[in-house]
């Protein structure tokens, strides 16, 4: 856990899916280091292998070749030090918001009183105070995603993996949740890996943006985002921000005029 070892360390990572007739090469020689407390975004064309990379990091899938260390240890199976936020809220509709947030605590056998206290804290952190006893269907899509974030944090993971958590939301809710995520990140400082299709979201939130090629995913470039923190919405119209967005956009083949 010393400062030199990165939190996530991927070396020549390769992933081949062997389902069906012809195998699919999803990741090809991916090298990536993510430091502790860092916020890193992954962008790249659809289907290039971003989700695959998150699955490998979380231990839900194992690489076909290469090395993957998390927190200095080789990943050999599912890891509890990871919190996963999915593209869909994936809430249990039969549980209240509070019970949904508590689910990982129950499965991991955390002490009840302690878990309840943490859940309450997190529900407040994501701005859902007063909704503890509501059911998911009574919440908007954005509120449900926030429940997903609170749930991912309940067992105090050291890494937060976010797979397009805001892609189903309208642009205003999305901007708002970007700010929330920044706030949560600055309070908790979880090492975060975010997949997004929004380049400006990636630039706005991250310390670095990793740009992937089309499948099989290779790292095209890792773009440093030197914008100061704390980040504020006004930055999104600064020259520097726009240039960064433009640069990343060009890398994945988008032309901004």
């Amino acid at each position: 856990m010393n400062a030199i070892t990165p939190m996530i360390e991927a070396r020549d990572l390769r992933m081949v899916y062997n389902q069906g007739t012809d195998p699919v090469l999803a990741l090809d020689n991916v090298n990536l280091d993510v430091n502790e407390h860092e916020f890193v975004s992954l962008v790249g064309p659809s289907g290039c292998g971003k989700t695959t990379l998150l699955k490998l990091v979380s231990g839900l899938a194992s690489p076909s070749a290469g090395h993957l260390n998390v927190d200095g240890k080789r990943v050999s199976g599912p890891q509890k030090k990871i919190g996963f936020v999915f593209q869909v809220p994936a809430l249990m509709k039969w549980r209240t918001i509070q019970q949904n947030v508590l689910l990982p605590a129950e499965i991991l056998g955390m002490r009840k009183a302690e878990a309840l206290e943490r859940a309450q804290e997190l529900i407040e952190l994501v701005g859902l105070k007063g909704f503890e006893k509501r059911y998911p269907h009574e919440l908007s899509g954005g509120m449900q995603q926030r429940v997903g974030i609170a749930r991912a944090l309940i067992h105090d993971p050291s890494i937060l993996l976010l797979d397009e958590p805001f892609s189903a939301l309208d642009i205003m809710t999305r901007g708002q949740l970007n700010l929330e995520l920044l706030r949560i990140w600055s309070e908790r400082r979880k090492t975060s890996l975010l997949i997004t299709h929004s380049i400006s979201e990636a630039v706005f939130l991250s310390d670095r943006v990793v740009v992937f090629s089309a499948r099989p995913a290779k790292v095209l470039e890792v773009v440093q985002i030197p914008l100061p923190r704390p980040r504020v919405p006004e930055m999104r119209v600064s020259r520097e921000f726009i240039d960064l967005v433009d640069h990343v956009g060009r890398l994945i083949g988008l032309e901004f005029v």
Partner: protein, 285 residues
């Protein structure tokens, strides 16, 4: 549509049910039952008038008044026959729910066994129950057993299919979450699969309970000396159509009550199932 907006306005109100007025006479449920009752009364009146006007012979189509007279005025012990049929139906139904849910659980938890069980279930479902009822009579005698068994047989399949789809229908992301937390099989089953299966189990029960009534009556047709099905056979032999209609009425009423009970328990037991679109008798949410 009004219900939705009513709920949206009720921002801070209670969780499960949409808020409703305290005044029973203004509630939508009351309005609906008034509509249903009025429709029934009008149908009966038209039926009665038609029978009298056209002087329809009673053995062809008895007027409601005659059915009514048969129901309350004859020496037939409807309470006894009705409770026999109800008993067979309920036992068959309960067995179907218990064993059906169990079979579904086995199919989902042990997919390898599914390959053996599913074809057997399918065969059991495809065999016409009316055709095997006489055989069951030979095997199980003339008592209640074959009736309960036929009720069970017809009620079983919808439970298995619905529960199995429910158990299997857990979101992929939720299962990923379970795996990433290293949830045990036991936890995955009880915390993830079972609750997700409940709405479909209830849907299956609604289908099954009406089928169970049919199953019990069919078995009574084939042989026996008590039950509403037997009354219909006797009524047919004696051309006592009013008696047949009276029995028919009781069967339908019984089936309806059972159905309503299941819907009611669904509302109480799984209030979170906001998408309970299958609610026919209860509130349309």
């Amino acid at each position: 549509m009004e219900r939705t907006s009513a709920r949206m306005q009720a921002g801070g109100a209670k969780v499960a049910a949409p808020p409703r007025s305290n005044n029973v006479f203004r509630s939508p449920a009351f309005h609906r039952s008034v509509k249903v009752s009025v429709t029934l009364v009008v149908v009966c009146l038209l039926w009665e008038a038609g029978c009298r006007w056209f002087e329809v012979p009673s053995y062809l189509l008895p007027a409601p008044s005659r059915v009514f007279a048969s129901l309350f005025g004859s020496s037939v012990d409807f309470v006894h026959h009705g409770s026999v049929t109800l008993y067979e139906t309920l036992l068959g139904f309960v067995a179907a729910v218990a064993l059906g849910a169990l079979a579904a659980a086995i199919i989902v938890v042990f997919p390898k066994l599914a390959d053996i069980i599913m074809p057997l279930l399918l065969i059991a479902q495809i065999v016409p129950k009316v055709a095997i009822a006489p055989i069951l009579l030979i095997w199980l005698g003339y008592g209640l057993a074959p009736k309960i068994f036929v009720a069970f047989l017809v009620a079983f399949f919808p439970i298995v299919i619905n529960t199995a789809s429910g158990l299997a229908a857990v979101e992929r992301e939720l299962l990923d979450l379970a795996r990433s937390l290293e949830a045990t099989r036991w936890q995955i089953f009880w915390k993830f699969r079972v609750p997700s299966a409940l709405p479909l189990l209830f849907d299956g029960m609604k289908i099954s309970v009406t089928l169970a009534v049919i199953g019990a009556v069919i078995a009574e047709f084939v042989g026996g000396n008590e039950g509403l099905g037997v009354l219909i056979i006797i009524a047919n032999q004696e051309l006592d159509t009013a008696l047949a209609f009276a029995s028919l009425f009781l069967m339908s009423a019984g089936g309806l009550v059972l159905y309503a009970l299941i819907e009611a328990s669904e509302r109480v037991l799984i209030p979170w199932n906001s998408a309970a679109s299958g609610q026919i008798l209860g509130d349309h949410r």
